[in-house]
Symmetry: C2
Subunit: 216 residues, 2 copies
């Protein structure tokens, strides 16, 4: 089973690596990281370099497509070759998925038109402008389109997807293998539960919000 | 603040990338991935290649040291140059940390002698043989030595560490930024909560257990 994870300059690493760690453990899984061109790709903060060894042209019919997110104007950065590849891959995929603002790229490719979908909590209005119906849930299934909320939500999505693909027992074995028994030290992972001043702080620091305000 | 993440052949990617995604968001953080030699390093399943751009010699006094784990006999693979570097780095670090079987490498360097520590649930006896006092908790602080349980536990550890380093508000803002509001689809992430047959399945598939049985 080919699982294609899209890589592009300035992606957020955990968006890709969380689901990779889960999906790579599915029986028969072949996870392929691919990009428009091979070579080194730096993550959003410039501190980590992934080596991309496969181009989009090498894998046009993966069973699973996964699009991670990144900060700022990820949609514009994706570019037509990526959007074309996504449309082609989606036409034969079993599952087309995204994490965080990766859903904005799926939407820009026209794949979320009128569909229930999610994204990073700061990107929900942008998702609506791109034609999707934003849903504030951690993992959203709409047919074969599966979207996850911000960054870490990709782990939950991948486990839910693993259960659909290979059954609950396999998904549970993967969860136990990566010892995913989360115990965050604070209940601050959602704008619904975090202290109001923390929500405002994060909102004010977000480049995406700043860009939106500049664009008004 | 220099945060050194040790990279080596066949590491488990999420062990490193989970904490990186948290700690890189600390104000003033400079996360450096380093290895005995620069160049490409493949992760445990061979599906992902990280490009290492810094050697151990380039950073001998980081404030934070983080050692990820990997499958199989990671301790033997670490090698003397890595163990020497860990001893030197620990002598001046503010925090010396590990995720999953990374604690076996810390223990092999002699840094966990008599200390309370944790590891992947399948590696606790190995941790004891290497001189530590194994504790079945998700994140264990013993002075400046901080160890996390298997793979995904590095995210919880990094958030706890972020709070110690920069205060609760900063840690909460990071948690909200990566939308870490975990909702695993199953309660199977710990041998205490997973169905007994799943625990036995994962145990039977573990190369580490097989190696131990072969060594009897």
């Amino acid at each position: 089973m080919d699982i294609a994870i899209l890589i592009y300059d300035r992606l957020t690493a955990l968006d890709a690596i969380g689901p990779y760690e889960v999906l790579s453990r599915l029986p028969g899984a072949n996870v392929v990281f691919l990009a428009a061109e091979t070579g080194p790709v730096r993550t959003d903060n410039g501190m980590l370099t992934l080596q991309v060894e496969h181009t989009l042209k090498e894998l046009t019919s993966p069973e699973v497509v996964l699009v991670p997110g990144g900060p700022g104007d990820v949609v514009a950065r994706a570019g037509e070759p990526v959007l074309d590849w996504l449309r082609q891959a989606d036409s034969t995929s079993t599952w087309t998925t995204s994490v965080c603002t990766g859903s904005l790229i799926l939407a820009a490719a026209g794949l979320l038109e009128g569909k229930r979908a999610t994204s990073h909590w700061l990107a929900m209005e942008e998702l609506r402008r791109l034609g999707a119906e934003p849903v504030s849930e951690r993992v959203v299934f709409d047919g074969k389109l599966v979207t996850a909320a911000g960054v870490s939500a990709g782990i939950d999505m991948a486990l839910a997807l693993a259960a659909r693909i290979a059954g609950d027992s396999v998904a549970q074995a993967i969860q136990l293998g990566i010892e995913y028994d989360p115990q965050p030290p604070f209940d601050a992972g959602s704008p619904r539960t975090a202290p109001a001043e923390i929500v405002e702080l994060v909102r004010s620091l977000s480049p995406r919000v700043q860009e939106q305000e500049l664009a008004r």
